[in-house]
């Protein structure tokens, strides 16, 4: 019987680097209100990061969190979420989130923690050593200046092979705003520039040994449920274009599928591969081994597109390893900075990276670029600030920045305008447009759930292997209540609800925690009507809630679970309103980007379009109204916040004059 509490580890680990003090706090009450992960982090941000604090200030918190499903048999639950003020975000260095897979998150949970909250600034480089219930700060002076691989090697040698590490490279130490926090050979919290926050705090790494386990409220029902979910995800499933291994690469480099996060239920995906002994191109005497966990981390680029670097598999693999070791953000470099630099070059604004001729079709040029950014040499000092800031510092290519950067300092993704590789057409990018408008970074998890899911299953991307447009609309009606939410000829109709739905799903994924690419389950090849369901009939979009209930023992309805996500979304927005004066006017800064002509054309429409300002204005009205927010200001109303159990937040925002007290 499910009568106990499970899922959460039960403790927060608190670390003050200024004083060296380490303590724990109970976490279950946080979890029962804010799920875990991003939810707990949002509450800590509200309570502890006042307005005026910047990412590099000691008062900033960097919060490493896991959730009630992390490290359990819930498929794809091996993730950790990192939240902090973002050095990468522009023009506001606001509070945002990132996440990473691999084994570190589960290990933290097995050590007995739901989060590590780090504050302050260490007077000398340190690392945090968490050995189950014991945690201490250790001197990291010999690690400072080392790359991510050597740092991990050293810590594993010192503390044991079962230890799991997150670390920053030299890029983070030198406060590059595109510095990552990494684990293993390719897992990283990339977006946000949080590596620089660790660098500013003098925190080189967190090594964790976790030998315990996670209690489950109802272990039998839970593992029956996770097995049902896993079976639904087992191949053939997911995107119709799951790829197979390349026989040549299997022979030469032992290519094999690799689960980029613990409990992955479908490693036969196109994203994740392991390679062994790949000879370098820039450094032919070196051999590299490791994984590629996403196409984004392969610098080979994409043939026939603006991202075609013509450096081949070996060059691309080598560069992925090098940038990972420095702790640079692959994704940002590949999809944001590199095409921007190429455009600057094509326009005659950039001929060389100092003494190195500019040629991104040459792996050695990339290598020089990474080194300059990481060590802030020459032009690299400006580029380390990220392309958006670099354009201003260098007075170079300012008019091209918007071609690749959708908003808030983050490169485009699934928005039909920024990135030039992910096929998405009108009207489907309207949902990402709404999500970008209200986001604090690229709303990747939201964009994947809606736009990527629809486009990948569509005849445009998957041809005969996919689903027809009418079938997609039929399936989507199960989730969004109307076929118009996902029909290619639906225009501006019914786009606000999916934006909200997937905004909440993104919160749930980063809070329970599960993988963004795997959830929510919507479309399927295994059911007659193509709506994803487990064999026992459990609907795909209900998987997270069902696993959450059985793990935690919280007997809540799906509507209650959804309102937990809504509570977190509103709390994040409240932090935005209080600390950065976030409003509708700020949200509307994304409009010019989407007003440009889209990158691809919906074949059923026959001609490309940009955003219609009048219609999008009405769509924003609809979005704020559905959220229960004030339509003029784009801010949560006091009534809404109280309804979500955030009365103290409503009171504080009203006291500051940022929202008005409702007369309800």
């Amino acid at each position: 019987m499910a009568n106990k509490t499970g899922g959460w580890a039960g403790k927060l680990l608190r670390v003050d680097l200024t004083t060296g003090k380490i303590w724990t706090e109970p976490s279950v009450e946080y979890g029962r209100k804010y799920i875990g992960g991003r939810g707990i982090a949002a509450r800590i941000a509200w309570d502890e990061i006042p307005p005026g604090v910047g990412p590099f200030d000691p008062e900033n918190r960097i919060i490493f969190t896991v959730g009630p499903l992390t490290g359990t048999s819930a498929p794809n639950s091996g993730r950790a979420t990192v939240c902090s003020l973002s050095p990468q975000a522009y023009p506001y260095e606001w509070f945002t989130f990132s996440s990473f897979g691999g084994y570190w998150g589960p290990t933290l949970k097995y050590a007995g923690y739901d989060a590590i909250v780090v504050q302050g600034q260490s007077p000398r480089p340190v690392y945090l050593w968490v050995n189950d219930s014991k945690a201490e700060l250790r001197d990291a002076s010999e690690l400072w200046g080392q790359g991510i691989y050597v740092t991990q090697e050293t810590l594993l040698r010192r503390h044991g092979k079962d230890v799991r590490v997150v670390a920053i490279g030299q890029a983070g130490e030198n406060r590059s705003r595109i510095a990552i926090i990494a684990s293993g050979t390719s897992s990283a919290a990339g977006q946000g520039g949080f590596g620089a926050v660790m660098g500013a705090k003098g925190l080189k790494a967190i090594a964790v040994r976790g030998t315990g386990g996670v209690m489950l409220a109802d272990p039998e029902a839970f593992s029956d449920c996770t097995l049902a979910v896993a079976r639904e995800m087992h191949a053939p499933s997911g995107c119709p274009k799951w790829s197979s291994l390349d026989p040549d690469l299997v022979r030469e480099y032992s290519e094999r599928f690799y689960a980029c996060t613990q409990q992955c239920a479908n490693p036969i995906c196109r994203l994740s591969r392991y390679y062994d002994g790949v000879q370098g191109v820039v450094y032919p005497n070196r051999k590299y081994s490791g994984t590629i966990t996403c196409e984004s981390s392969l610098f080979g680029g994409a043939g026939g597109t603006i991202y075609d670097w013509k450096i081949g598999f070996r060059g691309g693999f080598e560069l992925a390893r090098i940038s990972q070791d420095y702790g640079l953000n692959h994704w940002e470099l590949g999809i944001g900075m590199a095409p921007w630099l190429r455009k600057c070059h094509a326009a005659g604004e950039l001929n060389a990276l100092d003494d190195v001729p500019f040629d991104l079709d040459n792996a050695a040029c990339w290598d020089a670029l990474f080194r300059k950014i990481t060590f802030r040499e020459g032009i690299g000092d400006a580029l380390a600030e990220g392309a958006v800031r670099a354009a201003h510092i260098l007075g170079m290519g300012k008019r091209y920045v918007d071609d690749f950067y959708t908003a808030w300092g983050f490169a485009g993704h699934w928005d039909g305008h920024g990135d030039k590789i992910n096929l998405i057409v009108f009207p489907f990018w309207l949902v990402p447009a709404l999500q970008w408008a209200t986001a604090t970074r690229d709303p990747m998890a939201s964009g994947h759930g809606y736009a990527q899911n629809i486009m990948n299953w569509s005849p445009m991307f998957s041809g005969e292997d996919g689903l027809g447009w009418e079938t997609i609309a039929d399936v989507a009606a199960n989730v969004y209540g109307t076929r118009q939410a996902a029909h290619p000829l639906s225009g501006y109709q019914a786009k606000a609800y999916p934006a909200i739905f997937h905004g909440h799903r993104s919160i749930i994924k980063d809070s329970v925690t599960v993988d963004d690419q795997a959830y929510p389950r919507i479309y399927s090849l295994k059911t007659p009507d193509h709506f994803a369901r487990a064999e026992d009939g459990m609907p795909g979009p209900s998987f997270e809630c069902n696993m959450f209930r059985r793990a935690t023992g919280m007997q809540i309805s799906e509507a209650d679970f959804e309102s937990m996500a809504e509570r977190i979304f509103n709390l994040e927005r409240a932090v935005q309103v209080r600390n950065w004066d976030r409003s509708r006017a700020v949200d509307e800064q994304v409009i010019p980007h989407f007003a440009d002509m889209e990158n691809w054309v919906n074949p059923l429409l026959g001609a490309g379009v940009g955003l219609d300002l009048n219609q999008f204005g009405k769509l924003l009205d609809e979005y704020y109204t559905l959220r229960g927010w004030d339509v003029a200001t784009g801010r949560p109303t006091a009534t809404k916040l109280r309804e979500l159990g955030l009365a103290d937040v409503a009171e504080e925002l009203a006291r500051l004059g940022l929202i008005s007290e409702d007369h309800a």
Binding site: G184, T185, S186, G213, P219, E220, L227, Q262, P267
Partner: protein, 135 residues
């Protein structure tokens, strides 16, 4: 009947390990699982596993001074009688496959019992690196 593990197909996802612990101990605790998978973090590879072959001549059973490990005909698995087990670890030392260990919580020998039927690690394995083999 026993489990077979194929290194080439294994994707290091740990599902088998975690689900085994959940079914046998009610907790997601890899240290208490009957099947173990190890990954070298520095390469994200070099995966190794420890699992029970349900040997015809089980060294663990032979080594046990208490006769606590016996073959169960219905499930075709060697089972540990926790009442009889004195946690002397003779079985742990005897097993050439490192497939029997002492449970760190109960301090009793623990090994694969083939789940008494529906073998969870095999069922959950996405790349089919784990299979049930006859004999």
């Amino acid at each position: 009947m026993h489990i077979e593990w194929d290194e080439k197909k294994c994707s290091n996802c740990m599902s088998c390990v975690v689900v085994c612990a959940e079914r046998h101990t009610g907790t997601s605790a890899p240290a208490r699982a009957r099947i173990r998978v190890f990954v070298d973090l520095l390469t994200d590879n070099k995966v190794t596993a420890q699992w029970c072959r349900q040997c015809a001549d089980a060294a663990c059973a032979e080594a046990c001074p208490e006769g606590a490990i016996t073959f169960d005909e219905p499930t075709r698995a060697w089972l540990v009688d926790e009442e009889k087990c004195l946690a002397c670890a003779a079985c742990v030392e005897a097993c050439p496959y490192f497939a029997i260990q002492l449970d760190p919580v109960t301090d009793s020998a623990m090994k694969c019992d083939l789940c008494g039927g529906l073998v969870r690690c095999v069922e959950i394995c996405a790349p089919k690196a784990l299979l049930l083999a006859e004999a």
